[in-house]
Every structure is written in structure tokens, then in C-alpha cells.
């Protein structure tokens, strides 16, 4: 008998199951784009067909990190920038879990930038949602890695001299096999993209544009947005790296010129996930590690059998 019976349960799933029955002591301001992510995620879950109890949501620190307080599933609210390493190991220990990681642009592209690059490179089978509000929300409005050049804040009084980071391009060059951008103001697209991202077998990166009406008042509220898949002006093959790359650059340039391009930018369905790669080299067991501790019949190998080489 499995020790994890919530996993693989086939039943009708209702989005309301993902709402905690107690008022979370979370902190989102009225009008915050983060509510859009929450809503889209709850809507996507029934589409993906995963229950709250087989889902692990790992978040970082920031307003964005509070997603796990508003969302009922197994959750892990970790530390600033480290959601990805926590999440990817959980997935390795129990690959049957649906693992989603989430955090802000400061969290994921700043302090956790190194992990972002490496998790994408390894192509772990998981979804990573970055709440991109171009600002540090929780610490009260400092310049973030996605803030535009010239952005003024208490920590950059003369305006930032830095070019903003290019998250889509960064994900692509690092090795992510699914890259998309959506916006809180576009709930239908957001739901579809999150569904696709979770169903994708590999590292799916979703740059989620979220408005921060409290600290980023000048920021465009990401409307009107253009869905690159819906527009006749943009024709490219999302399975082709170089076309995808070109399109991402267009979108990244356009954003700071007031034109919001969203949609799917890259989807490689052929690249094996990290788990598959590791299993193929014999470096990872087929059975989830986590199950083994409950299996009475499992024969635990012991170090005593290794001692011959020390005699």
C-alpha cells in the first residue's frame, strides 16, 4: 500500500478546495496583482487535475512569497531567493508530487538568480512563477532587478543606472524548456499558461506581470497587453530556439516602451526532464525515495558490505 494515497487520486476537483478555510494573516494590498496569480493558479489546478494534497507549493519571501498562505495545498514558505533549491529537491525525493515554486522578481532574479539559472539549466520538472512587479514590494518599494533604467526609489535616489534583467531570455539561455509571460490583468490567458506550464514535463518558467499599486504607482498596469499568439503581427515558431529568442528580446525591449507582449515564447516538448536524465545515467532511483521509508519489504543496503576495500 502506498504511503501517499493523496497522490494520483482521480476525482472531480473544485478550485474552491484550494482556499484555506481560515483567514490567512497575509498582507496583500487592495488592487495588488498578486491576487491575479492566486486566482489563475486556483483555476488552473482543476484543469491539471491535481488535488491540494498532492501539490507542493514552495514560495520565497516577499509579498509574492505569501502566495502559499492564500493557497491551500502542502506548502513551504522558505527564505528569500531559495524557493527553487527547496522545491527541486522535494521533487527529486518524491517525483509524484506536483511541485510549483513561486516568488517575486527580487526573490527570483536578484537574490535567487543563481538558483534560477541552475534550476533552468537542469530542467527540473516543475513550474516556476515569478511575480514580476518591477519593484520590491514587501520591503517598501526599492528598485528591483526588473525596474526600468532610471527608476527612482529611496535606494536609488538619482535613478537606477542599471539595465533591467531580461527574465525570458535568461530562462531560455539557461535551459528552461517552457517559457511564457502572462499578466494578472489577463486572467484567461494566465489560467491557460499556468495549466500548460504544470502539464509540461520539464522546467516551466512563467514571468507573471503583477501590478503593485502601492509602490509602483507610475508603472503601467500592463494594459493594454498584446497576446503574441493572438496577434497577426507576431508570427514565430515557439519550438524554435532562435525564433523564440528573437521574440523574447522584442518583448523585453517593448515592455519598457509601454507595449506589453505576453503569451508563450518557447516550448520544447522533446527535452527530457532532469529526473529522466538522472534516471537514465543510473543516478536516481525509479521509485520515489520518500515511499521507500514506508516499505517494510525494502532491503536496506548497509555499509558493512563496503568494508572489503578497507581490509
Amino acid at each position: 500500500m502506498s504511503a501517499f494515497n493523496a497522490i494520483g487520486e482521480e476525482r472531480e476537483i473544485n478550485r474552491d478546495e484550494f482556499t484555506p478555510e481560515i483567514e490567512p494573516q497575509a498582507t496583500w494590498c487592495p488592487g495588488c496583482g498578486d491576487f491575479g496569480v492566486l486566482k489563475a493558479l486556483k483555476q488552473a489546478m482543476p484543469e491539471v487535475g491535481r488535488t491540494p494534497e498532492e501539490t507542493l507549493l514552495v514560495t520565497g519571501i516577499g509579498c509574492s512569497g505569501k502566495l502559499s498562505s492564500y493557497f491551500k495545498s502542502y506548502g513551504f514558505h522558505s527564505i528569500h531567493g531559495r524557493a527553487l533549491p527547496v522545491a527541486r529537491a522535494a521533487k527529486m525525493a518524491n517525483p509524484d508530487l506536483e511541485v510549483v515554486a513561486a516568488g517575486g522578481d527580487g526573490d527570483g532574479y536578484g537574490i535567487g538568480g543563481n538558483h534560477f539559472m541552475h534550476t533552468a539549466r537542469e530542467n527540473h520538472d516543475m513550474t516556476y512563477i515569478v511575480f514580476d512587479n518591477e519593484i520590491f514590494g514587501l520591503t517598501k518599494g526599492q528598485t528591483s532587478p526588473t525596474s526600468p533604467k532610471g527608476h527612482k526609489s529611496k535606494t536609488q535616489p538619482h535613478g537606477s543606472a542599471k539595465q533591467p534583467i531580461r527574465p525570458l531570455s535568461l530562462a531560455l539561455t539557461s535551459g528552461a524548456s517552457y517559457v511564457a509571460r502572462t499578466a494578472a490583468v489577463n486572467p484567461n490567458q494566465a489560467k491557460e499558461i499556468l495549466t500548460e506550464a504544470m502539464e509540461h514535463d520539464g522546467f516551466a518558467h512563467v514571468d507573471f506581470l503583477t501590478q503593485c499599486p502601492t509602490w509602483n504607482k507610475d508603472a503601467k498596469q500592463y494594459v493594454p497587453y498584446i497576446d503574441v499568439q493572438d496577434s497577426d503581427d507576431y508570427d514565430f515558431d515557439i519550438t524554435d530556439r532562435s525564433e523564440a529568442s528573437e521574440m523574447m528580446q522584442k518583448a523585453e525591449n517593448a515592455l519598457y516602451e509601454g507595449e506589453v507582449l505576453t503569451g508563450r515564447f518557447y516550448h520544447d516538448e522533446d527535452r527530457p526532464s532532469y529526473q529522466e536524465e538522472k534516471q537514465a545515467t543510473g543516478d536516481m532511483p525509479e521509485e520515489p525515495l520518500a515511499e521507500r521509508y514506508f516499505d517494510e519489504d525494502y532491503e536496506w543496503e548497509r555499509s558493512y558490505d563496503l568494508l572489503d576495500r578497507h581490509k
Binding site: 487520486e9 494573516q25 513551504f76 531559495r82 529537491a89 522535494a90 525525493a93 518524491n94 543563481n114 581490509k311
Partner: protein, 632 residues
């Protein structure tokens, strides 16, 4: 000269195969029934530069590298001759001979490779030889190796010559070679070994009377390092996930684990940095695996924040801290015990973790098992701290130390049946349930993602019973008290079920020596010497650093007039910890400190003790320092 111990030193350049040769020779000595202890000295440099390995073999238990040594095999540094590198390396060719003479005992034996080294280049060599009654054998080991095989095999020629000079049975060495090599390489090595053996016997007159001691050890022994102890302890305790980033000397454990984990159905991950390494261990453990990570000083500093996360979310993990000399990157290949306070107190808020400091390879095995057991039972991070000396030094350990059943028990995790009955609140499991009457020792029930009925939020922010972030003052106090109370429960459990502190020497001794970690063996040898010399001394080595073994250390200190605290750091961290934990004994404690990058030798502890209690002992020849606790 007495023949009761052989301390054989093989010296040469890094990368010249000194390590593997010495491993084999140490095993040959062990197979002949002797106890063996090895000491590695090497520079932080990959190829070239002077390095040596010392092997001490005795019929009696051997617990330290000993004082000085009595047999030198000087091989010559092949990399010093690399013509392209000449400007950089300079002329270091002769170092394997010159660098080692100061520590060679009177009457000692020197074998040097005259194919590479020229003793006439050394100032006053002949005078020193005569003065110290050394016995010198110059052999063209390089020539011999080249004649029958390749130049690198000059190590083998050196071992053959050693065996002849010490009158050893070649069979042990030949058997080991047969295990390790095959084909032409084996043939060539065997031939070189025998040629060297015979030519020494035929062409040289043995002028010394040092012989390999005879071994009578009948129990099956294995030659392992402290890192093997830790790795094997982890495996036997069901650890099947390790994540790490290389850093000397932690890399030893990481590599040993990685060699075995895939074949044992486990996972090893080399990741982008140490923050990731510790975070992965947390993620794997959260999802239901037994997981570990670790590092050395600088890397462990990076783990400080995830360590706190593990404390707060009550995610069990085991971290290994393998100390090298600090601060900052310090001396990568040299031992020190300078990270104790770092490990005890690093991270946010009031600290709450378990710290064990094993003193030898067998303790590394036992205490690592205990660390996992406690971590998973009490949902708390546990740290095993040891040092570069114990990490890479090998010692003979009875095989049956490792003959313990594997333990896959995942600790205080609930089952789905338990969850059916469990207390829920608002559709979530009370993962962080208060322990009002303290019945569960501060431990709350833990579910794993994927278990039916167990969903909760693990948060590094203060949280309520179902895991939701909470700044409610009453909840804060209840949760803090519950988490902090675990240490008292663990202290009780350790007092009942573990005996990690070792006392050595006559029970009613007048004086005490207190040590921790790898200084254990050297202190015990010093205690023997001191008692033979008419002093009255006993020793205690402490392993339970947090929770601290309060009762045992108090009893020890109460029973002596005064105690010398021996440790390898500059600021007496352990002594400060003892005083802080016990809140007394300031007037009784003196420190003997060493932090020059080399482990203590027994004679340094002996002299340190003698100088403290008023005898006429000269400490100026050593890099050690005495300091009193009260500052008199």
C-alpha cells in the same frame, strides 16, 4: 632504539602517488596484525610542492601520529623538475629530504632516491647524520623503476627497499598490489618491488636495528578515515540524499557518499553553492527523504540562513562541518578547531540545533547515526563537526563497529491512518501542535506532502499550529517554548542512551585534561606518559556540544583540582563554551592552545601540562600557548 613502534614517513611532491602508496603500505601493516594511524600533510596545491604521509604502526592501540618519526622514505618531487614550470617552482627538488630532517628521531633511518635527490647539495648533511646517528641508504629508485617499468613506479621501489630494511614479509604488499592492479602494470610493479627488496639485501649492509614491530591483533580490522565513519554512519541510518558543493576537507565525505549513493538507490547532487546545498537537503527531507549536506568554514557560513529555516520549519537535516584553519579561506589543507562557536550559534534568533563532535573514526560512525536518529525523531537540524585531521587521516577500527543493522526509521512522521484521527483545524493538519503538557518532548506530529489529510504550511516565519503565519504573542510564546524544549528532551535522551563522552586514566586522578573532537587520541597518549612519569592525570573528551553534556562534565571537573583544556584554536572556544554552559569552574580551567595548522603531538600536551603545574617545562620550542580562564 626501541622497536615497539614504526613511524614511517613517505615524502615527495603532491601528485606523485604518495597517497595511494601510503594507503597500501598502511594496509599491509594492518594485515600483519598491527594497529595503524595515518597523518596526511599536504599543501594547498595540486601538483608539486612538498607533501608527506606518516604511518604509525604499533602492536598496542595507536591514537595519534605520535612524537616525531623514525623512518624516512624521501622520493623527490617529480614536478619540481618540470622544465616549463621552473621559474615558478624554483628548485624544490631536494625538499623531500631537507624539509623532514628536523623531526626525524635520533637513530632513525633515511632512504632517499639518489636518482632524483642529491644529498651533497644539502648543507651540513653529513654532520647532521653523524650527530643524530641516522642510517642513510641512497638508492637509485628512479633508475630501478625505469628499468622495469615506468618512472612513477619509484614509489613501489621505495616500498620494496623499506620492506627489506625493516625485515618485513613482502607477501602482504604483493597481495595488496594484486587486488589493486592487473596485467602489465601489476607485473612491472611486482618486479620492481622484488628487485628493490633483493638489491637492498644484497648490496647494503644493514647498519640500523629498527625493525617493523610484530603485530598480534587478531580481531578483523579495517582502515578507515573519519570521513568514512560519517559517510557509512549516514548510509546505515537510511540517508539516501546528499547535496553539496566541494570545499576541502568536506569534499571527502561528499565524495565517499556520492560513490555509493546511486548504487544504493540514493541521490547525490552537486549544486551551485552551499546555500542551495543546504536548501536542497531541506526540500528533500520535507518531502520525506533522509537528507544531509555539509561544508567547511566558508561554505558553512553560507548555510547559516537555511540552517535557521530548518530549525523554524522543524525539518530534520544533518549537516557536516569539516573544519580547516580559518578565518576566511584560511589554510585549506590544515586542521583547526576554530569553527565551534560558528556552528553552535550561527543563524537567526535563539539557536536550537544539535551538535556532535566525534573524536575518532569509530565515533564518527556512531555519532553520525545518532545525529540522524535525533534529527528525525525531534525534527531538528543536527550537525556533526570534525576537522581536516580526522577527515583524511586513516586509522584501524575493529570491523564489528560497523556491524549494526541499517535503520530506515523516518522518526516522528505520522501515517495516513494516524491522519484520519488527527486533529484538524479549518481543513488543515495541526502539524505544529502545541505540546501543552510537554508529553511529546516538544515534538509535534509531522506529515509528508502527498499524505491524505496532512496538508499544512511549513513556514520560516513564526506560524500557528497549522502553519499559517502568525504574530500573535501567545502563539509565539507557546511555539517558541515548544521548539526550545526539545533540547532538554534530547539532553535527557542522550544521558540515558548515549555515552559520547570518554573518560580516560585513573579515576581518582588529581588533575584533568579536557578536550573535544580529534584531540582525543593525542590527549589519551599524553595521559599515559604523564602518569608513567609520576603525575596523577585523567582525561575527558567531550562530544555532546549541544545539548551540552552538563552532568558528565560537571562531575569530571568537580573530581579534579584543576583541568587543562586542550584545543586547536587561538581563542579557547571550547573552554568558553564549557564555562558558559556550566556557569562555573572559571578558576579551575586553563587552556593549551595550538593553531599553527598542525595537530597536537603527545609531547606538546605533556609539556603543556608540566609547564602549567609548575614543573620546569620549556614550551618555547612548540607553537602552543597556555592561557588561564580567569586571566591571572
Amino acid at each position: 632504539m626501541t622497536n615497539d613502534e614504526l613511524i614511517w614517513r613517505i615524502a615527495g611532491g603532491s601528485g606523485d602517488g604518495i597517497d595511494s602508496t601510503s594507503q597500501n603500505f598502511a594496509k599491509a601493516l594492518m594485515r600483519s596484525g598491527l594497529n595503524v594511524f595515518t597523518h596526511r600533510h599536504y599543501p594547498s596545491r595540486i601538483r608539486g610542492g612538498h607533501t608527506y604521509v606518516e604511518i604509525r604502526a604499533k602492536d598496542e592501540p595507536v591514537k595519534s601520529r605520535g612524537d616525531n618519526y623514525n623512518f624516512l622514505l624521501a622520493l623527490g618531487d617529480s614536478f619540481a623538475r618540470n622544465p616549463q614550470e621552473e621559474a615558478y617552482y624554483g628548485n624544490e627538488e631536494i625538499k623531500p629530504l631537507t624539509e623532514n630532517l628536523d623531526e626525524l628521531r635520533e637513530g632513525g633511518v633515511i632512504v632517499y632516491d639518489s636518482g632524483l635527490l642529491d644529498a651533497s647539495e644539502i648543507e651540513n648533511f653529513d654532520e647532521r647524520v653523524e650527530e643524530n646517528n641516522w642510517h642513510v641508504y641512497d638508492l637509485d629508485l628512479r633508475g630501478l623503476a625505469k628499468e622495469h617499468g615506468r618512472e612513477v613506479m619509484r614509489n613501489t621501489a621505495g616500498v620494496g627497499a623499506t620492506a627489506a630494511l625493516l625485515d618485513m614479509d613482502l607477501q602482504y604488499i604483493e597481495d595488496l598490489m594484486e587486488d589493486a592492479m592487473s596485467g602489465d602494470v601489476l607485473e612491472a610493479n611486482l618486479q620492481i618491488l622484488e628487485e628493490a627488496y633483493e638489491s637492498v639485501n644484497e648490496d647494503y649492509e644493514h647498519t640500523h636495528d629498527l625493525r617493523a614491530p610484530t603485530g598480534t591483533q587478531e580481531e578483523e580490522q579495517v582502515l578507515v578515515s573519519g570521513s568514512h565513519g560519517i559517510a557509512y554512519g549516514s548510509l546505515d541510518e537510511g540517508c539516501r540524499f546528499i547535496s553539496g558543493y566541494p570545499m576541502t576537507p568536506w569534499t571527502d565525505v561528499f565524495t565517499i557518499m556520492t560513490q555509493h549513493l546511486p548504487d544504493m538507490g540514493g541521490i547525490s547532487e552537486q549544486v551551485e553553492d552551499e546555500i542551495a546545498a543546504a536548501s536542497l537537503a531541506i526540500g528533500a527531507s520535507h518531502a520525506g527523504a533522509k537528507a544531509m549536506s555539509g561544508s567547511s568554514g566558508g561554505g558553512f557560513a553560507l548555510m547559516s540562513e537555511p540552517l535557521g529555516l530548518a530549525e523554524m520549519t522543524e525539518t530534520p537535516i544533518v549537516l557536516v562541518e569539516s573544519m580547516r584553519a580559518g578565518g576566511s579561506t584560511g589554510m585549506p589543507t590544515k586542521p583547526e578547531q576554530g569553527d565551534l562557536e560558528h556552528v553552535l550559534y550561527t543563524s537567526q534568533g535563539d539557536s536550537n540545533r544539535v551538535v556532535f563532535a566525534p573524536g575518532d573514526a569509530a565515533e564518527c560512525y556512531e555519532q553520525t547515526r545518532k545525529a540522524f536518529e535525533i534529527a528525525y525523531e525531534y525534527q531538528i537540524p543536527a550537525i556533526v563537526i570534525y576537522d581536516q585531521k580526522l577527515s583524511g587521516g586513516h586509522q584501524t577500527v575493529p570491523e564489528d563497529v560497523f556491524d549494526e543493522e541499517p535503520n530506515p526509521d523516518i522518526g516522528s512522521v505520522v501515517t495516513e491512518e494516524d491522519l484520519e484521527e488527527a486533529v484538524q483545524e479549518a481543513g488543515r493538519f495541526k502539524r505544529y501542535m502545541y505540546d501543552a503538557d510537554g508529553e511529546r518532548g516538544g515534538v509535534s506530529p509531522r506529515s509528508l506532502p502527498g499524505q491524505k489529510g496532512g496538508n499544512y504550511l511549513a513556514s520560516g516565519n513564526e506560524h500557528n499550529e497549522v502553519g499559517h503565519i502568525s504574530e500573535d504573542p501567545d502563539n509565539r510564546v507557546l511555539q517558541m517554548n515548544r521548539r526550545m524544549s526539545k533540547l532538554e528532551s534530547i539532553r535527557d535522551e542522550l544521558a540515558e542512551n548515549a555515552d559520547h563522552q570518554t573518560v580516560y586514566g585513573p579515576e581518582d586522578a588529581e588533575y584533568g585534561i579536557l578536550s573535544w573532537g580529534s584531540t582525543k587520541g593525542v590527549v589519551e597518549e599524553a595521559v599515559d606518559v604523564l602518569n608513567e612519569q609520576g603525575h596523577s592525570v585523567k582525561a575527558m573528551n567531550v562530544s555532546d556540544m549541544m545539548p551540552f553534556a552538563k552532568d558528565e562534565v560537571t562531575a569530571f571537573l568537580e573530581s579534579v583540582d584543576e583541568a587543562l583544556v586542550v584545543e586547536m584554536n587561538a581563542t579557547a572556544q571550547f573552554r568558553r563554551h564549557v564555562q558558559g554552559q556550566l556557569g562555573r569552574f572559571g578558576e579551575k580551567l586553563y587552556s593549551l592552545l595550538k593553531y599553527d595548522g598542525n595537530p597536537f603531538e603527545p609531547r606538546e600536551v605533556v609539556s603543556g601540562f608540566e609547564s602549567r603545574i609548575g614543573d620546569d617545562a620549556d614550551l618555547s620550542q612548540y607553537n602552543v600557548r597556555i592561557e588561564s580562564a580567569t586571566g591571572d
